[in-house]
């Protein structure tokens, strides 16, 4: 693997598939990259009304303490999640947000946080099924963070949905990934690796 331990939080509302997105990322590392990952979800019983959030820890060694207080990467798919979690991002971390759902700015991210946005909902709708917006986000995540081997992510997607849904979800992944890749390119930033915050600022 190409990195040390990395802590990720994905948040939005129920029904957006937050948990699946998180477990796909975890699975990519734990199963398809041979590393270790824990995913802990925390959602109200209003699994479908209220807010939903998941924490993923990726590591090259077994993980003892499975909770994330200050994520390296925050992925938000709702305004509420944005407002609640943005301040917790580690300085120099990454904020990924769903453009249609989130009006940025109300809260300020810690210094040095890089921000990437994607209209995942609309992209998903273009594929005909809004439900796959979470996988679009995963693809986008893969492209902008370059944290996990894209093939591993793709395999994890394939492995995480029922056969009938694989084509659609892979398309969603690719669409998100491509959008992310282009964005990164447009932002004409050299692909940087995610390294612990302090160095990140360097």
């Amino acid at each position: 693997m190409r990195r040390l331990l990395s802590e990720i939080r994905i948040a939005g509302f129920g029904g957006q598939g937050v948990i699946l997105a998180a477990s796909v990322i975890g699975k990519a590392v734990a199963i398809f990259e041979g590393g270790y990952a824990t995913m802990t979800q925390s959602f109200g019983p209003e699994a479908r009304g209220g807010s939903s959030s998941a924490q993923v820890i990726l590591s090259s060694d077994p993980i003892l303490y499975p909770y994330v207080s200050r994520p390296d990467i925050l992925v938000v798919m709702s305004q509420e999640a944005y407002t609640r979690f943005t301040p917790q991002i580690k300085p120099g971390g990454i904020l990924i947000m769903e453009n249609e759902m989130v009006q940025p700015g109300q809260t300020s991210a810690p210094e040095g946080v890089r921000v990437y946005g994607v209209p995942a909902t609309r992209l998903a709708e273009e594929l005909g099924r809004k439900v796959v917006l979470n996988i679009v986000m995963v693809g986008f995540f893969g492209a902008v963070t370059n944290l996990v081997d894209p093939d591993a992510l793709r395999k994890a997607v394939e492995d995480s949905v029922p056969p009938a849904m694989q084509k659609l979800n892979l398309a969603a992944f690719d669409k998100g990934f491509q959008y992310g890749a282009e964005l990164v390119h447009r932002m004409s930033e050299p692909e940087t690796e995610l390294v612990p915050a302090q160095e990140g600022d360097a």
Partner: protein, 72 residues
């Protein structure tokens, strides 16, 4: 002028489309805009056709719309 009117609470709407489908006079259509939860709420496209029958209100699972007759 229309016999009735229809009121929509966009932020409550979850875009199910019941109101649009079951409005007898096709007063409504889903807008392309998202509300803050990412749903397409209905909008009035033929206000003059609204009878105020409130069928939209009875169907709306999210209490986001209702119709009523204009007090004459």
């Amino acid at each position: 002028m229309a016999k009735g009117f229809v009121a929509i609470t966009v932020e409550r709407c979850k875009g199910c489309g019941f109101c649009v489908e079951f409005c007898p006079t096709k007063v409504l259509a889903l807008s392309s805009a998202f509300n803050s939860k990412g749903y397409h709420a209905p909008q009035v496209v033929q206000a003059d056709k609204c009878s105020g029958c409130d069928l939209c209100g009875m169907y709306c699972p999210d209490f986001a719309i209702f119709g009523a007759r204009h007090a004459r």
